[in-house]
Every structure is written in structure tokens, then in C-alpha cells.
Symmetry: C2
Subunit: 307 residues, 2 copies
């Protein structure tokens, strides 16, 4: 067996507009670069090669917790040393913790000759998400591992459905403000009007049909969220202006990435995605909010191996 491997683990967008808690997708960039090697001593060692100062104690590190979950499923004691260089800024709302957790278990599985199924890897990586947010959710983990668009049809029991999608360009703006996931959760209403729920699942159905039938217009029409966005977007300064400017620039649609603060927009071609980035800049520069923009694509693959 090979005894070391390098992987690139992608950023992901969860809570895709109408698909709150069920739809996510992988991005081509940014990504974490992670190097895993087997060690003679059992257990997990984490080495951070970036400046984010994340915990290195394995039980408190998302990649560490994911690796420990995987090790518990093995009959033999094994040791891993994981070097992590995060390209995805923690707290940005584009699946930073999921990327590290997913990258770790995919890398380990390669060293174990692909002993585990993708679904088992998702289960292991969810322990990493638990460390990050207190909830063992798969919204970002699934697209990070499967790539492309994924549906979590059911969280319990876990039922992941990969969805074919046409080429899509993605513009993400990360305003440098903090939205705590706990706040974003607390602000949600626990009861919603039935008529809004019906409108939402009509849009979810339309979005899935649009993706599978490569119908960009239908994708655009279906990118409407009448339940979560109206509430959560108030936590993100400039949200309405960013959305309006992006649509005017030709975006198909978009919304809050994960629980924010990043905002993503989908476009049919790269020129439009660049124009959307320009429009986003035009909103945040005058506001004096620091921000970072990624112009990238939907990635049909998840965690990739360095050649």
C-alpha cells in the first residue's frame, strides 16, 4: 500500500436557495491542500501549515475527528499524520470545515485501498462537522466527497442522491463579517406557512428538474427561497443589493451560501460570472466592507488526488 497521498478538497455551497438543508454543490476553487501519511505510531497527528491557528488536538480538529471516526471502524490500530494547508477561509460559509473533514477521510481511504464506500466516508466526515458546529450534518460533506450537485433526500437515515448538472459558473463573494451558525439557526422560524412550504417544494422540484434536464431557464426560475432567505439575509449587510446587482449582470440566481456570510450566484458562462463579480464589488466597495470574490465553476468531482 502507498503510504502517503496529497489531496485537494473543495469548497462547497450548501443550502442552495430553495434547497435549504437538502441541496449542495462542489466548487472548483478554493480548496484545501492536505497531505496524509501513515505513521508507525497509532493515532492521529495534525500539523497546520497555514496561519489560521486551528486546533491541532485531533478530537478538536475537524480533520482529526473525521480520521478518528474512520480509525474506529478499522479492526487494526493505524497511525496518520495529516498536514493541512487551508485554502478555504474558516467561517466563510463555503464549507471550510467540511473540506478538511472530507479531504482527510478520502485521503485515508486511498491509503486503505478504498476500503470504504463514499457513503461511509460521508458518515466519518460528519464527525468533523460535529466538532465545527455541534451538528453532524452532511450538507457540505456530501458534495465535497461526491462532487457536483448532491441531494440529501433524508438525513436520518442518510440518503445521498448525486444529481447530474449542466456546466455552471459560480461567483462567490465573502464579505469579511462574522455570521455565527448558531445565530443563523436561532433566527429561523420553527413553523412556516403551508403555502410558503408548497411554493418552496415547487421550486425545489423545478431546480432538480432544471439540473437533470440542463434547462438553464428553469434553474433560474426555480432559484427562489421564500422561507430562509427573507429571514437570514438580514444578517448579511448588502445582501439585497448584491442580489439585485448580480441579477442585473445576468446571473441565473443565487443566495446565501450555507448560513453565510458568503453569497453565491450561478451563471451560464464565465463572462457573466465575471460580470457578476464586478457587480458584487460595486456593492461592497462603497460600503467599506472588506470582501473576497471567487469566480469559479461547479466542480463535477469532489476531493481530487495530486498526480
Amino acid at each position: 500500500m502507498t503510504d502517503s497521498v496529497t489531496v485537494y478538497s473543495p469548497a462547497t455551497v450548501a443550502n442552495v436557495v430553495c434547497g435549504f438543508d437538502v441541496l449542495g454543490f462542489a466548487l472548483a476553487a478554493p480548496f484545501d491542500t492536505m497531505h496524509l501519511r501513515c505513521t508507525p505510531e497509532p493515532g492521529v497527528v495534525i500539523i497546520n501549515e497555514d496561519d489560521y491557528g486551528l486546533p491541532t488536538e485531533p478530537t478538536r480538529n475537524v480533520a482529526g475527528a473525521a480520521l478518528l471516526a474512520l480509525l474506529r471502524a478499522l479492526p487494526e490500530p493505524l497511525g496518520f499524520e495529516m498536514r493541512i494547508n487551508k485554502g478555504i477561509k474558516p467561517g466563510s460559509g463555503i464549507g471550510s470545515s467540511a473540506a478538511s473533514a472530507a479531504g482527510a477521510v478520502v485521503a485515508a481511504n486511498r491509503l486503505l485501498n478504498d476500503r470504504f464506500s463514499p457513503e461511509e466516508l460521508v458518515q466519518f466526515a460528519m464527525f468533523g462537522e460535529e466538532v465545527a458546529s455541534g451538528a453532524r450534518h452532511a450538507d457540505n460533506i456530501a458534495p465535497a466527497i461526491y462532487g457536483g450537485f448532491t441531494l440529501i433526500r433524508s438525513a436520518d437515515p442518510l440518503d445521498i442522491v448525486p444529481l447530474q448538472a449542466p456546466p455552471l459558473h459560480v461567483t462567490v463573494v465573502h464579505p469579511q463579517i462574522e455570521v455565527r451558525t448558531a445565530d443563523a439557526r436561532r433566527i429561523l422560524r420553527q413553523q412556516v406557512p403551508l403555502k410558503d412550504a408548497i411554493r418552496q417544494w415547487g421550486n425545489v422540484a423545478g431546480l432538480v428538474a432544471g439540473l437533470l434536464q440542463s434547462d438553464y431557464d428553469l434553474i433560474g426560475r426555480s432559484l427562489e427561497d421564500v422561507i430562509v432567505e427573507p429571514v437570514r439575509s438580514i444578517l448579511i449587510p448588502g445582501f439585497a443589493a448584491v442580489k439585485a446587482a448580480s441579477m442585473a449582470a445576468g446571473a441565473l440566481g443565487g443566495g446565501i451560501s450555507g448560513s453565510g456570510p458568503s453569497i453565491f450566484m450561478l451563471s451560464r458562462d464565465e463572462a457573466t460570472a465575471q460580470a457578476v463579480g464586478h457587480a458584487m464589488r460595486g456593492v461592497y466597495e462603497p460600503l467599506g466592507v472588506d470582501f473576497h470574490i471567487h469566480v469559479t465553476t461547479l466542480s463535477p468531482v469532489g476531493v481530487r488526488f495530486a498526480v
Copy 2:
């Protein structure tokens, strides 16, 4: 222009389990047989050739109201005589009124050399639904006109999305009890828990993906309704027993058709659909409830023309 035409207009299932208010499909049987001819006198004449005693005054007859809506969209005054022989029992919950309204406008459109688009025909036929139930809804009209599975992504503005589906066999049992649509509407909670809504739209997404990818297992797993069925099924004696017996007989899943009282089940093959019918009979015979069973298929086409 031809001056008369005969059409067969199909029964339809609306509110397909998790797809409440958005998903419907057409059945190969039963159907209404309708004969339309142009008359020299402007206006609409309705002649019932069955024994249901439905109103013949055009404004109070669903086919009549649909034809009047279509006539209002024409510059020239025209006259139609519509003979209707209903094969779909009124009040059964399988789109009896929609079939008459849809059949009428499709027939008229043929006599007008297909002047109107399918979506315009849906709009006209919705005036028939208004006569029947007080609401101008398209849940049954859309599959009756388009055939196959249809998604009403949005009712306002109307956005109909035809969905490809694999071959499906359908068993429908119509217990001869009355469920008034108004009662079925009143019993629904107007607020639903967010977590149930999320589970529902995960299932809607799974059902659409299962249909478009011809994944029968996914279709089966997604046929779960945590919002409407738990409430409305109490209006239908024997519902839980029918469902349990149908699943034991091999059905993929199913639920209330429309607002009831009919119950439908989907199966992969005809033998299973027949076994499901047998299982349904085994529930209702001992209960002493009169019932009628249809073993049929999903129809890829809607209103058909007699050759």
C-alpha cells in the same frame, strides 16, 4: 376546418404524496368520452350522455365554463355543442372535473386548428375547476392536457414543467364514501414545522430525481408525505390498512389521490399492480365499504383523439 371531433380525456392523480399541490400524473384509464361539434349558433350547449345528472347550463358545467373561457379569447363568435359521457365518476378524487374541462378545450382547439398553446388550454380549463371546487387550480388539468407527470412549479404565475417518467403501473381504489374537498382543505394545518417541510422537500427532490433518472428504488423511498397524509388520511376509512397491505404486496408507494377518497399506489410491473388491487380488496370487503378498483398505467399522453 373539421367541424367535429371525439376525444378521450383521462383521469389524473394530483397531490402525489410529498408533492402536495405541485405534482400530478395522467392515468390510461378511466377516461371521459367527449364529442364536440361546431354549431351555427354562437355559445355553448352541453349534452350529458351519462347518468350522473351534472348541470347542463354552461356556466355551471365544468366543460361549459372551460369552453366559455376559450370562446372569450376568440375574436369571432363561435358555437359548440359538447356531448359528454363521463367514464370517471364525479367526486372520486381522480380528476373527474379536470378531465371534462381539459377534454373540452383540447377538442375545441383541434377544431380551431391548434390555435392555442397547451399552457393557454390549461388556463381555459382552470375556469372549469373553479366551477367544480371554487379554486382555479391546475393540479389535475396540467397532467390531463400534457400527459405523463407534471410539475406545477408555480401556480401564480403559472409555470408547468412536464417531467419524463419511466413506465409505472397504477392501482387506484375508490371507496364509495364522500370526502368534500372543502373539508379536506379545512382540516389542513396552515402552519407546518420547518423540519417537516425540509423532510418533504427532500422527498420531492428525490421523487423528481427518481422519475427523471428512472430510479424506481429512489421513487419508492421518496414517496413519503409527513405533512398532508397524516392529517387527511383520517377522513378515509381503511387508509392505513390499504397502504400497509399495498406495500406488503410490493407497491413502490402511494397515498391519497387528490383530496381523496381514492387511494393510489405505484408499482413497477403489472403483476404487482394486480396484487396490490387484490390486497386493497382484502381490506375493503370485510369493512363492508363499497369500492371500485382500477388497475392501469401512467399515461404518457393526456387527452387523446378518436381515430
